[in-house]
C-alpha cells in the first residue's frame, strides 16, 4: 500500500460553518432580494468549486480542476450581477464588501490550495463586518439585525480561523468534528449572550441619552476592555 499523505487542509465542518455564517451575516444585515439572489448564486458556485477541489484530492485531477474553476467563475460573477440588480444605492454599496467577503472566506477554506489562509479568513470576515456596518448606517435593516449580523461575522471568522488552525495541525483525515462543533457552538452561545446584553441595553432606552453620555459609555467600554486584556 502506498503511504497515506497527511492532508493538512482546513477542516470541513468548521469551514462550512464559517462560509455559512458569513453568508448568513450578510443576508441578515442586507435583507434585499438582490442580496438573497447574489448570495444564493455565490454559495452554489462555492459548493461546486468545493466538489471540484474534492475531486482533485481523489486523484481525478483535470476534471476536478475544471469543475472547481467553473464553480469559482459562477461565484465571482454573482458579485457584480447582484450589485447591478440591487435597487437601492445603499444596498449596492453594502453588498460589494459583503459578497466579496463571503467569496474570500470560501476561497480561504476551499479544500484545494495549501493549508488555507488565516489572512484571507481575516480579510473576508473583515469585509463582511464592513458590509454589516454599512447596512446599519444605510438603515437597510433594524438594529437587532445588525447586532445578529456582527455576531455571525465573529462566528464566521472564529470558525474559519479554527478550521485553518486545526487543519494545519491535524489535517482533514483525522476525526475532529466533535471538538469543532463544541468550539463553534460555544462561540455562537457567547454571541447570543452578547446580542441579549445589547438588547437589554437598548431596553434601558440608552438611545434617548444625549451624545456626551454615549461618549462616556464608550469610554467606559474601552476601559473595561483594557482591564480585561490586563
Amino acid at each position: 500500500m502506498t503511504p497515506a499523505r497527511a492532508s493538512l487542509r482546513p477542516t470541513r465542518v468548521s469551514g462550512v460553518v464559517a462560509v455559512a455564517a458569513g453568508a448568513l451575516a450578510v443576508l441578515v444585515a442586507i435583507d434585499r432580494p438582490a442580496a438573497v439572489a447574489g448570495l444564493a448564486v455565490l454559495l452554489v458556485g462555492c459548493s461546486v468549486a468545493a466538489v471540484g477541489a474534492g475531486l482533485v484530492g481523489r486523484s481525478r485531477r483535470s476534471s476536478g480542476r475544471v469543475v472547481e474553476w467553473v464553480g469559482l467563475v459562477v461565484a465571482v460573477v454573482a458579485v457584480p450581477v447582484a450589485v447591478v440588480a440591487s435597487t437601492t444605492p445603499g444596498g449596492s454599496i453594502a453588498l460589494v464588501p459583503g459578497l466579496v467577503g463571503c467569496l474570500l472566506l470560501a476561497v480561504a477554506l476551499l479544500p484545494a490550495y495549501g493549508s488555507g489562509s488565516r489572512r484571507l479568513v481575516r480579510l473576508g470576515s473583515g469585509l463582511a463586518f464592513a458590509a454589516v456596518l454599512l447596512a446599519a448606517l444605510f438603515h437597510l435593516s433594524p438594529p437587532t439585525r445588525a447586532l445578529v449580523g456582527v455576531v455571525l461575522v465573529v462566528v464566521a471568522w472564529d470558525a474559519g480561523d479554527h478550521a485553518v488552525d486545526l487543519g494545519a495541525q491535524l489535517g482533514t483525515r483525522a476525526r475532529t468534528w466533535p471538538s469543532e462543533l463544541v468550539h463553534v457552538g460555544a462561540t455562537g452561545l457567547v454571541g447570543f449572550v452578547g446580542v441579549a446584553g445589547a438588547e437589554l441595553g437598548r431596553g434601558l432606552s440608552v438611545a434617548s441619552l444625549p451624545l456626551t453620555a454615549f461618549v462616556l459609555v464608550l469610554l467606559a467600554v474601552i476601559a473595561l476592555t483594557l482591564a480585561l486584556h490586563g
Binding site: 500500500m1 502506498t2 503511504p3 497515506a4 497527511a6 481575516r122 463586518f129 456596518l133 446599519a136 448606517l137 438594529p143 445588525a146 447586532l147 456582527v150 455576531v151 465573529v154 471568522w157 472564529d158 480561523d161 479554527h162 488552525d165 486545526l166 495541525q169 491535524l170 489535517g171 483525515r173 483525522a174 476525526r175 475532529t176 466533535p178 471538538s179 469543532e180 463544541v182 468550539h183 460555544a186 462561540t187 457567547v190 454571541g191 449572550v193 452578547g194 446580542v195 446584553g197 445589547a198 441595553g201 437598548r202 440608552v206 438611545a207 441619552l209 451624545l211 454615549f214 461618549v215 459609555v217 464608550l218 467600554v221 474601552i222 473595561l224 476592555t225 480585561l228 486584556h229 490586563g230
Partner: protein, 418 residues
Amino acid sequence: MDSTVATNRWRGVVALALAAGALGVLARRPSLLLVAVPGLVFAAYARTTAVGPVDLELTRRMGGATWRPGDEVEVEVTVRNAGSARLWDLRVVDGVPPALAVVDGSPRHGGVLGPGEATSFTYTVDARLGRHRFEPMTAVVRDLSGATEYTTTVADETELVCRPAAAALAPRATNRDAGPFTGRRRGMGVEFSHVRDYRHGDAARRIDWNRYARDRVLTTVSYRQQRALTVVAVVDARRPSYRGLEDGPDAIAAGVTTVEVLANGLVDGRNRVGVAALGWPDAWLPPATGRDHLAAIRGFLAGQRAFGVTPPDDEPSVGVQVDRLAVRLPTDATCWLLSPLCDDGAVEAARRLEAIGHPVTVVAPDVTARDTPGRRLAAIERELRVAGLRRSGIPVVEWSLAEPLAAAVARQGEVRLA
C-alpha cells in the same frame, strides 16, 4: 516543552467592535454603539477561559508482539485525560517511528475529553525490518475560546519489532573439530559409542545395568559427546554501514533483527551464542546458551546504542577493532558477520577473523540501489567484495531484503539450511 501560551486570536475582534462603537458615536447612531457590547462579551469570554497544565495518559496497542516485513500493523492509540479539568479542544499527533509509513488512517486525532475520559483512534503502518521505537506523542490543548494553548508531549515506551521469518544458518566448524555437530570426545550424549569397564566415579546412570544383572560385571556405556558450538554474531555497526534503501530499513536494523532470528535457532539447539558490534568496542555479550540468554540477547540488541540510529563518533581502524574483538572471542568460536559490505573494511574484518582461526560466514543485506550512476558504482563495488570473499573461501549470504532470509540462505552453495 510544556507551556501555556496566549494565542491572542481575539484581539482583532475586540478592536473591530470598539471601532464600530466609535463609528456609532461619530455617525450619531446609538444602535451602532451597541455593536460594541457583543465585542466586549467576546473579550470577556476569551479572558475567562484558559487552559492549565494537562495530565494525559497514553497507551498504544498493536495486537501482536513481532511482525514480518510488509505486515500491515494496526496501531490503536488511547489517550486518557488523567487531570481534573475538561479538555475542550485536544489535538494529538502520535510519534510514528521515522522509518515507518502510515498507509491507512491518521496518526492525528482531535476531540473533547472530560476528566477521566479516554478517546482512541487507529492507524495502520507498514512494518519494516528493525526495532522501531515510537516517539512521544505531541498534544496541544486549547481552551474553549482558543485564547490559550498548552503544548506537551506524552511518552509511552512502545516498540514495533519486525524480524525476518525464521531461518537457520549453520555455523561453520572450527579447524579444531571435524564434523559440524557431533564431536569425537566420548562421554555424555545420545549416540552410542562404546562400552568399557566400570571405573570409580562413573555416573550410576551410565552403568549398563542389564549386563550387571546377567553377568554381575559393572560396565560403563560411553556415548559420543554432543559438541556445543560457540557462535559470535558480529554486527558491522561502523559508520559506513549506516546505510539504507531510499524508503527502507537501514543495514544495521536488518543485521540486528537477523541476529535475533539466527540466535533463536541456535540457542534452542544448546549452542552458545554471543553478540559483538564493530565500531562499538563496549558492545559485547559473551556467548552463553539457554532461554534466559535468548532474552538477554534480545535485551542487548534493543538496548545498546550500537544498534540505534546514530553512527559512532570516531572509531579505530578495522584491524585494531578485530584484534580487540579477537581477545574476547573464545578460541573455538565461529563468527557470523552481519554487514552490508558498503566498504572494504568489512571485507578486511572477515578476512582477519578467518585468519586468526575463527571461521566467518558473512550475511550481507543488500542496501544498494541502482538508480544513479554513483549508486550503480557502489552496487558493483559491493558485488566485487562479495565475489572476493567467496574466492577466499568465506561464504556470503547475499540477502536482498525483499526475499525471506531463509531463501537467501538456501541460495548459498556453501551454507546449509539446518
